[in-house]
Symmetry: none
Subunit: 128 residues, 4 copies
């Protein structure tokens, strides 16, 4: 389930965040479902509890989960999630950047476009 790469330049909490976000958005973690506790998850994936904590906080801030104090953390109703302008701009910039990376690697525009197409195609089934 969880794909953590300690050798990656991405910080661990970010990887945890992304993993959970993916599980939520693909419905593997259903709306209203209870998430494992911080301590539990940190044991499962052998990561510092503070790191998991930070991931949970981040997801809550972004509206993907919510916490009922003393009870636990639960998956929010993701159908309500809507792109705020700021996050959208960030995501667009990230995509532009990534595409630029492909181009600047020496690929032709068409090659880069095809590779991008393949990558996005693989996301078609797993989402939405």
């Amino acid at each position: 389930m969880f794909q953590l790469d300690l050798k990656s330049r991405k910080s661990i909490y970010e990887q945890v965040t992304d993993n959970l976000k993916e599980l939520i958005m693909t419905g593997t973690l259903a709306s209203g479902e209870k998430l494992p506790s911080v301590r539990e998850l940190s044991k499962t994936i052998t990561v510092n509890p503070n790191t998991v904590q930070k991931a949970y906080r981040e997801l809550e801030r972004q509206g993907y989960i919510y916490t009922t104090s003393g009870v636990g953390t639960f998956v929010a109703d993701v159908s309500q999630i809507t792109a705020d302008a700021h996050s959208l701009e960030l995501a667009k910039a990230a995509l532009d950047d990534a595409f630029k990376q492909l181009l600047f690697l020496g690929l032709s525009y068409d090659e880069a476009r095809e590779i991008a197409g393949e990558i996005m195609e693989q996301r078609r089934l797993s989402d939405d």
Copy 2:
């Protein structure tokens, strides 16, 4: 020319690297052309010389520029640049990540795909 954002998550030297890479790959800086000296550029963009140097070094390592000791730094023959497997994987992962960001923002697959298409289309003209 140079777009530096001190608040960005991207480090300064990385932004300098990317800016120069873009200028080189779009031909604004022609092959063989002399780059501004480290000190000169550092003054122009009001950044520490060490930071500029780090960017230059990175670009040299990646084959975009070369240095003649005591003379200066020059744009390499970018037509020879070829994507090594490792960098290609990184770029692909970055693109996948960025596309995921779009999807997880609540956009439908088709919406995300269209936005991505527009972004990439804008890169068609500026590059080869």
Copy 3:
């Protein structure tokens, strides 16, 4: 362990890099083992932390070590290391150069060849 020569033409960070590379490739530092922290090593060998960092960064780029953010630096799986064409050419050129030096010192071809043989023989035991 560490042989640093401040008078050498080789820069310090390069000497640190080479020293560590040798320790890694000979197995003295085992795969997965934690390297001393940048600050720690810098104290041990009385060198500025930035210098050590530069060495670590270089080793990471070359695949000998990897970093887990906030945790530390570790020895990578060196059995996976494979010579890229560019580095191989550089190494070959360096060897050709060194052998030329011997010849140009006035030694006969056979003398130079014998000396070279002895030097390389001494590397047989310490490496795989």
Copy 4:
């Protein structure tokens, strides 16, 4: 004749020195023969005169050439050149270093040894 690589990390004066040394040691420039003047050579190979000057000084210091003031620079009797202990140690260290580079690139000992053998074999004909 002259192989200069401005993109190389080797300084230019060093490359000039090595080139001349090779021409001398292979007999292409015979003992007693007059070398081109500094200004002349600097024009021929389009290099700063100071750089050529430095190369000549270095060669003179090492005994490969001698200058008769006002007359010109001449090739010395290289059969008399004999390896001083210090230079020999330096050359040996360089060779050891280069061979280590090969090994640390992931090559097996035997592979490295074979590559080294090929490189040195190519020097057999051109020298001595």
